[in-house]
């Protein structure tokens, strides 16, 4: 007997292969300080933590995200800066900062796990 793949093989998983990951919707073509970024295949995991990181930038006056529709797997992230940097730069820096933060948490966690004796261990 041969193994036959079910016809509907995505299990409803909203994976959009080959689709664009990222789009920029400028709010005003002449004003780069404000834009809406559309990130596909992402949700609150990236949206909320990235919003926090972008808002940390003092040059950013507004950053918010939304999931426009629950059955579309994408987020809209709106950034407005004070004009000293562009919205894209603010997003870029937010991404860098969040990677740096994740790297720091990862390195800290690994160091703490390696420091056996600082924490309890149980076999069961």
């Amino acid at each position: 007997m041969s193994m036959i793949e079910p016809v509907e093989d995505t299990h409803g998983f909203p994976f959009t292969e080959g689709a664009t990951k990222f789009e920029i919707i400028p709010t005003d073509a002449a004003d780069p300080s404000s834009a809406t970024f559309v990130v596909h295949d992402e949700d609150h995991t990236l949206g909320n933590s990235l919003r926090f990181m972008v808002m940390k930038n003092p040059a950013v006056s507004f950053c918010g995200y939304s999931i426009p529709h629950p059955s579309e797997f994408k987020i809209h992230m709106r950034i407005q800066t004070d004009g000293s940097i562009t919205a894209a730069q603010a997003l870029n820096q937010g991404l860098d900062d969040l990677v740096a933060l994740s790297e720091h948490v990862l390195a800290t966690f690994e160091a703490k796990v390696a420091a056996k004796g600082d924490y309890e261990t149980r076999d069961i």
Partner: protein, 286 residues
Amino acid sequence: MNIDHHSGLSFTEAGGPQIAIKEVTPTTVTFVLSNTDLSVANALRRVMIAEVPTIAIDLVDFELNTTVLADEFIAHRLGLIPIISHQAVHLNYRHECTCSPYCEECSVLFSLDVSCQSENAMSVYSTHLVSSSPAVQPYVDPANEKGVLIAKLRKGQQLHVKAIARKGTGKEHAKWAPCTGVAFEYDPHNKLRHTTYWHEEDARKEWPLSAKAVEEPAPRDDEPFDYKAKPERFYFTVESTGALPPTTIVTQALDVLMRKLAEVHRVLGGIAEAQGEPVVQPTYNL
């Protein structure tokens, strides 16, 4: 659009997020993440549940099933068996592989061939599964060395299946989730009032304090409500299904999070390049 790379933040031992590990067991890790934002802690929690890849049985071919259990019922039970998933990082996702319907690069074959010859009922356990890859085996809890019960057979009943295990994540199906649960708690005294009480007469009497309450000072009775306060200590307990060690779940989750960010960063850089801006290489290597 000009994208200059300049990282605005640097994290030092004192300034950045901190971690204190409380306890590590073969299936759990308990730690406190502090000095960071709720959104970051929640992102970690969400990634650990839904986006750390593991291996689980996904496609089951029944060659013979004369048990009293329906095919789909057994297929579902097989899917939920935790499989040791260290190899998941070396395996392709199904959509990454060009093969059809499956190959060694993206799947592991399990077979199960049992028949009951005895007068007594025979129990079929996950340890009866035979894997095509020695490194990919069903997880067996040391306290229960037979493994997970799949089915029970009476005399003369047979079960013969071929099962394809694939790499996947918890956001596609919960069988791929590496943790049975992530306990996540902050603000044990409810100083921030993120929990609103409903019809308690005296919340302090009616709600027992959390075990984490000793970690933070209790509020004084005359303490005014600090409406600007933000949560900054997050108590995590990650419990593994056995597919991955609990500390590996945390490290892989952070790795997955960084890869997601790097992907968005790369595409943003690509758009900048298409508009004639110089490419700025990220400083991190993934």
